[in-house]
């Protein structure tokens, strides 16, 4: 297992939106999905997922519905709303810009300045 890194502030929202955008998920499912799509590289405090979910729901980015999990348990499923989708696109774009800027900064060489 590769060495895990701490989450940067604000990244959890993006990860949740991304995970849910792939398919509606319940809380634990979202956690597994994030692990899956990040190659288990990020540490997420499991309980801390929920305040984030509630906040996103409150902002109208996620909608919820009660359903049944793969293990036949009653679970609350989160789905991306239209504005959630819009937000995800924004976040992704913003993140991409940040990554570009950061990698440009990191790869700068003395003779290029």
């Amino acid at each position: 297992m590769p060495k895990r890194i701490d989450l940067l502030p604000g990244t959890l929202d993006l990860l949740i939106l991304k995970a849910v955008s792939l398919s509606p998920q319940h809380g634990y499912g979202i956690l597994l999905r994030i692990g899956q799509i990040t190659n288990e590289a990020l540490i997420i405090d499991q309980g801390a997922l929920y305040p984030a979910l509630y906040r996103l729901e409150d902002q109208g980015l996620l909608s919820t519905e009660w359903g049944v999990s793969e293990n036949n348990r009653r679970a609350k499923f989160y789905t991306l709303t239209a504005s959630g989708r819009k937000r995800l696109a924004q976040e992704v774009a913003g993140w991409a810009r940040l990554v570009d800027a950061m990698s440009a900064a990191i790869n700068a060489k003395a003779n290029e300045v």
Binding site: G27, D45, Q46, G47, A48, Y54, N71, R73, K76
Partner: protein, 878 residues
């Protein structure tokens, strides 16, 4: 999304349950997952829980993520906290809620009357363009009676300024409907009444102008209530007949439900045309002297009010035929005018509207005092709780949370006060209606209309803002450190001038209230003592008449008078006009040799008087002789006049034996006596010129008697009743004491005087409570200082006087401010006063004295407690 959030709040428990379930599912899923990976059951469970972290912590974070849920939770917490803290200080809570309840309740009660009497407009088309015609008498009374002749010519002669003129009149009559005999309210209305008001019949038709004359009409419209009660709302009602007294009418329509026409609160049961009255009064249409109609005009939309008033007044003053266009008495000296009447014609309103506005102002002031009072109490309490606030701030409560906490507490107090206020208002209105004619009570009684409820809620919020703003601001300034370190005193100390200011305001406002009360009470006593009739309280009377359609024997009343005189139970018995009562005739006086000034009031009022009248009524004869039996034989030979008549026309000459004209009769009559001046009709009226004439031996009239010994009125009335009964089984008698008649006429002044006294007392009490509260707090917070001073040898009276000086300062400041305010505002109630000027020194001195006494009394108890402190104990405190 919005409805989901509301669902969350409304289903707060379900929301919690689902959140718990969701987290539990997560842990179970995780456990299952771990087991799949080969972890043993127990270890998997343990690990899942550890990985999840503190469930309750996450839950709390989730709650925080939903602002409305958070607000709701805080509100509930605050409510619990506030109600607990209020229950813990029951004395404070009781004073706070009670004073608000009284303040809000008094306002709602008066507002109820304001709404009913002043704000409600007639349910007719364009009530704003309706005006009453008539003239204001010098005494402020509005006269607007017209005869049909006036009405008709006024209607035809003013078509350029009025879109229409309607006339109506109503009184109770014996009605026979479907075999039920009842006294019912019968209205007579002009043919244009319904079309002009834009009111449609509920069923059948209304009257039109074609229904007016020329001969007697037998058309009737019945009230909705009668249709329901006697005809079961059957359509067969049309063309059925209804008997009013002895005349039969044919029903052509039903008025809409609740229709009260032009008189709010008095829905007529039967409506007839003006010509319908010809069935009862054959000269109703032709007589110029029979003033039985009230008129209302609708102004043309393009004519400005002032222009219409000028035209109308000029026409009425031109005299002759145009004079009739005045729609009122031909002989009124005052110029006629147009009075806006969107609310309809209401005797109660005419009588009480001014008093009600004054009362509204008074109750408003009481509410202000109540708020100020509560504000100081809360402020003092807040100072006492500064420590608690500091602790809570130190424990991490935000300032906003504290303010919200305070506001919740204030709202709770105000809401309790508001709810209690509605009950107070209900009760207060019932008490108020005691002053109003019985048949108006139904209309004026307290009603929980939407307006009323809005007013209650509005008042509650408004008062919260008023009394809560100051203490909330001050207490939110507490700092976590300061209050813990310093003594409580410094918190109040820095803001003490504010508390003093609010107290001074309370005292100033109370001074205004108490002064008003003093003025009104003095008015009432003046009115009561100024009748000029010393025997007033002893006099009893009996109106005696035979029922309509039956003939009393000649001299019926005189025979009874004689019999009573012989019984020996009376100091004096006679008959004639009851002094100080309503009614009575009048005309112009003509005195030979006297040249009237160009504009002069030559009205002389008439009163019938049988021999012995002046003894019975206690009106002193100051010159000449009383009437004798022989004077009654030929009418219009002799009269007795009042002092003021003599002053007016004879200028110190001896009037006895002079001949004057005082009636419409062209013959001159001889003055045989002069009587002392007494009030003719109301107590408010001036002493007027009166001519007493010997009444003819009569079949009906008023017996006036004075019992032989004081306090025997009840026995005297029984005596009179049995004498009348002995003479006739069927005669109608209405008995009472003159005092009762007078007190009935004084009801408005009594209402204002009593209510203002109660409100003044309330204001005084509240101010005293406020002063007491602040002083008591002073004593507690200065305990140490007082202890030191006493330990250093200060005498207890020095301590008392220090504390009292404080109270005297505030009271003095309040009186200083309140005095000019009171003088200024008293000018607005001048027209309600009688015999006192708005700046009556006695009232002002009395009010200031009462106030100062109350203030010192309120301050004395805490001051005494300060003086009784044990120096050692007080040094040890804190």
């Amino acid at each position: 999304m919005g409805h989901r959030i509301w669902n969350r709040i409304l289903n707060r428990r379900r929301w919690e349950r689902e959140m718990a379930e969701e987290m539990e599912t997560h842990i179970e899923e995780r456990t299952a997952h771990l087991i799949e990976q080969g972890v043993a059951l127990d270890a998997a469970r343990r690990q899942a829980r550890i990985e999840f972290g503190g469930v309750e912590v996450h839950k709390e974070l989730c709650r925080e993520m939903s602002p409305l849920v958070r607000l709701y939770d805080e509100l509930r917490r605050n409510m619990t906290y506030a109600s607990r803290s209020l229950v813990k200080s029951p004395g404070f809570t009781a004073v706070a809620v009670l004073s608000l309840a009284l303040g809000i309740g008094a306002n709602l009660a008066i507002f109820n009357l304001v709404e009913r009497l002043l704000l409600t407009t007639l349910a007719v088309r364009d009530p704003q363009t309706l005006y009453q015609t008539g003239s204001y008498q010098p005494n402020g009374q509005f006269r607007n009676w017209a005869s049909y002749v006036h009405y008709d010519s006024g209607r035809k002669g003013n078509t350029d300024i009025f879109e229409g003129v309607l006339a109506w009149s109503q009184w109770t009559m014996e009605v026979d409907v479907e075999g039920h005999q009842e006294k019912q309210l019968v209205a007579f209305v002009s043919g244009n009444y319904f079309p002009m008001l834009g009111v449609q019949a509920r069923f059948g038709r209304t009257f039109t102008e074609e229904d007016d004359g020329p001969g007697p009409s037998n058309l009737a419209i019945i009230g909705y209530r009668s249709w329901e009660k006697y005809f079961g709302r059957s359509p067969d009602v049309l063309n059925k007949s209804i008997k009013v007294q002895n005349a039969t009418f044919r029903i052509v329509g039903v008025a809409p439900p609740g229709f009260y026409g032009t008189v709010p609160g008095d829905p007529p049961d039967v409506i007839l045309t003006l010509h319908g009255n010809l069935n009862f009064n054959p000269n109703a249409i032709t007589s110029e002297g029979m003033m039985w109609l009230k008129t209302m005009v609708r102004l043309k939309p393009d004519i400005p009010l002032e222009a219409a008033r000028t035209v109308y007044r000029e026409r009425a003053q031109q005299g002759g035929k145009a004079m009739r266009m005045k729609l009122g008495r031909l002989d009124q000296p005052e110029p006629p005018t147009l009075v806006p009447t969107a609310g309809g014609y209401s005797e109660v309103r005419n009588e009480f509207s001014q008093a009600i506005i004054v009362l509204m102002a008074l109750v408003g002031v009481v509410l202000l005092i109540a708020c100020a009072n509560l504000s100081t109490l809360l402020f003092v309490r807040g100072a006492g709780r500064a420590g608690e606030m500091s602790v809570r701030l130190a424990l991490g409560a935000s300032r906003g949370q504290l303010v919200r906490q305070w506001i919740t507490e204030y709202l709770l107090i105000a809401a309790a006060g508001g709810v209690a206020g509605v009950f107070v208002a209900r009760w207060a209105v019932d008490a108020l209606l005691y002053f109003v004619r019985e048949d108006s009570r139904q209309y004026l009684k307290f009603q929980a209309t939407p307006n009323m409820m809005l007013a209650a809620i509005g008042l509650t919020l408004f008062t919260t803002l008023l009394f809560g703003l100051l203490p909330a601001l001050l207490s939110s300034q507490a700092t976590p450190g300061a209050a813990l370190k310093e003594s409580q005193r410094s918190i109040l100390g820095r803001r003490r001038w504010l508390a003093r200011g609010v107290l001074a305001f309370q005292i100033a406002a109370s001074l205004a209230l108490v002064t008003g009360a003093a003025l009104f009470v003095r008015t009432l006593t003046k009115l009561n003592s100024d009748s000029g009739n010393t025997a007033r309280s002893e006099i009893v009377y009996a109106h005696v008449r035979y029922p309509r359609g039956t003939q009393a024997p000649d001299g019926f009343v005189d025979d009874i008078t004689d019999r009573l005189r012989q019984s020996g139970a009376f100091a004096a018995v006679s008959n004639g006009r009851l002094p100080l009562s309503g009614g009575g005739g009048w005309s112009w006086a003509t005195v030979p040799g006297y040249v009237p000034k160009p504009v002069e009031d030559n009205i002389v009022y008439h009163a019938w008087a049988a021999p012995g009248y002046f003894q019975a009524t206690g009106i002193e004869l100051i010159a000449g002789r009383d009437f004798e039996e022989k004077d009654r034989v030929t009418p219009n030979q002799v009269i007795i006049v009042s002092e003021s008549f003599v002053r007016h026309y004879f200028n110190r000459r001896n009037p006895i034996g002079e001949r004057v004209r005082v009636t419409h009769d062209p013959r001159y009559v001889e003055i045989i006596g002069v009587a002392r001046d007494v009030k003719y009709s109301g107590l408010r009226g001036d002493l007027s010129d009166v001519a007493y004439s010997p009444n003819p031996r009569s079949r009906g009239g008023t017996i006036i008697a004075r019992p032989a010994s004081a306090g025997q009125q009840a026995a005297a009335l029984r005596e009179i009743q049995s004498a009348v009964r002995a003479a006739s089984k069927t005669a109608l008698i209405e008995t009472g004491t003159l005092e009762e008649v007078i007190q009935l006429a004084l009801r408005r002044d009594r209402l204002v005087a009593q209510l203002s006294a109660v409100l003044g007392l309330l204001g005084l009490l509240l101010a005293a409570i406020g002063l007491y509260g602040v002083m008591a707090h002073e004593v507690i917070s200065r305990t140490r200082e007082i202890g030191i001073r006493m330990a250093l040898g200060a005498k207890s009276w020095t301590i008392v006087s220090t504390m009292l000086r404080e109270a005297a300062l505030v009271t003095g400041l309040g009186v200083l401010v309140g005095f000019p305010v009171s003088v200024f505002s008293a000018r607005f109630v001048e027209s309600l006063l009688y015999g006192v000027t708005p700046s009556d020194p006695i009232a002002f001195v009395a009010a200031a004295t009462i106030l100062a006494a109350a203030a010192l009394l309120a301050a004395f108890w805490p001051a005494r407690r300060a003086a009784l402190l044990d120096p050692v104990e007080s040094l040890r405190c804190e």
